[in-house]
Symmetry: C2
Subunit: 278 residues, 2 copies
């Protein structure tokens, strides 16, 4: 667990140099939620209905916008409107994984216009550092107007069975995060990674990368295709700052009732973590 | 270099059990080309124009269809029509890298309808074996009618600087290819991988995975975002069966003249490889 994990979201917001992270922590504190809902539905109507009814209870909505069969300008406009209405951030879980020249075209423009509406994106560092540099370049270019409202999570670990996002791969994720820390706001990982030992970089004073943990589910242990779940409490005790839950919420018979349970469990676990550190 | 690399495309076609691989080798032999053009342009008109003028000289067109800003049904219909007209295959370089449940929705249906038009797709095995199983499930399901015309390449290595697709990652790629060999037709890699030593699997008699090598360029050594190039000849001597060239062709002042050079160099290198083995 990093030292940052023991602090309140407010305390971290007040010290953080990144405007997007400040906003994220402020949202969490204001709405008393660390829930990111993975809204893996396949039509614009379902996506917007889910965003509207879950909106009051989440800090972030996570999308795979390429699974939306009728994706159009309405999807983008609707999502942005609901993000403002309910004060949440949008995280497009694209998992960029290509050479720099390609990911720039995938992120900015293209069929899905991701840079226009997603506050947060993520990438794998399997291709090497060029991918992080290339995405950071897009966000910092002069003709891109959303720069300060954009950030990158590095996919440092995965929760699926047989994941190879371990060892040297995870360490390199931490190294690239430190190298490009103006744009990299944190990790997709199963734990805080500040304690990872690297030969290349070391944590700076007050380092505070945000940890998003996937595979959170209150009632299932996994699926038939290798996904493995844990509870909100166990994820937060391992260092998650934001818990990502998908089927446990959107596939529940009452998604609003479900998201409230995740919100309460996630928030109580966070309060417990902070209390233990004081 | 694997034993298959020393054989002609015809000989390999005649022995191969996979219908799509047979067709791929037949196309190569018939058109005397092992060129895959990476058509990284950002409009439907450019993409279709490129596919039409380069069509006679290529075995495969490789797309990143999400970079096409006006992607629509016209893109799909146009691409399929040109693939028939010029007898080439379509490879969507999506680099799937998610849990099984998600990649199924990204591959089949969704905003980009990839399963409908792409003969070949690829994935990273970073998430573990569930991703390969999930994609294979889509192609073999009863209500999917393109099954025998679909195949998967595993992204076993990358050509970008600092690539972590090495060592245990590459070995696991070979293991998963063998485990799911009905659907996995080969690799994106810089060399034939049959000789890779694994503790888990070993090559069966006559194993013949197709090798696609990226980063082929006749005049450049690399770009500013970490891509590293090699020539058609060096790629084929290392075991590439199909060479993937992008900017060296589509960004040339005369793309048709350029593709003919890649076609000749690639074909001569292939003939040389076969001759040396005889």
């Amino acid at each position: 667990m990093s030292s940052a994990s023991g602090q309140t979201y407010s305390a971290r917001a007040s010290k953080h140099s990144n405007a997007l992270v400040k906003r994220l922590f402020d949202i969490a504190e204001l709405k008393k939620t660390n829930v990111t809902v993975s809204a893996d539905v396949t039509s614009t109507m379902e996506l917007l209905e889910l965003a509207d009814c879950l909106g009051p209870h989440i800090a972030v909505i996570k999308t795979h916008v390429d699974i939306v069969s009728d994706f159009s300008n309405d999807t983008v406009v609707g999502l942005k409107r609901l993000a403002e209405k309910h004060n949440f951030l949008i995280f497009e879980d694209r998992k960029f994984i290509d050479i720099g020249n390609t990911v720039q075209k995938q992120y900015h423009g293209g069929a899905l216009r991701i840079s226009e509406w997603a506050h947060i994106i993520n990438c794998s560092i399997l291709p090497g550092g060029g991918i992080v540099e290339a995405l950071a370049q897009v966000a910092s270019s002069n003709d891109f107007h959303h720069g300060p409202e954009r950030g990158l999570l590095i996919l440092a670990e995965m929760t699926s069975k047989g994941s190879l996002a371990t060892g040297a791969y995870t360490t390199a994720s931490v190294d690239y995060a430190r190298e490009y820390k103006d744009f990299v706001i944190g990790f997709i990982s199963t734990r805080a990674l500040t304690e990872v030992q690297s030969d290349v970089t070391s944590a700076t004073e007050g380092e505070d990368f945000v940890v998003f943990t996937t595979g959170v589910n209150l009632s299932s242990k996994g699926d038939k295709l290798g996904q493995q779940y844990q509870t909100p409490k166990s994820a937060i005790e391992r260092g998650a700052d934001f818990i990502i839950a998908g089927r446990g919420i959107y596939a529940a018979s009452d998604p609003v009732e479900a998201v409230k349970r995740y919100q309460k469990e996630g928030w109580d676990a966070y309060l417990g973590r902070v209390a233990r550190t004081e």
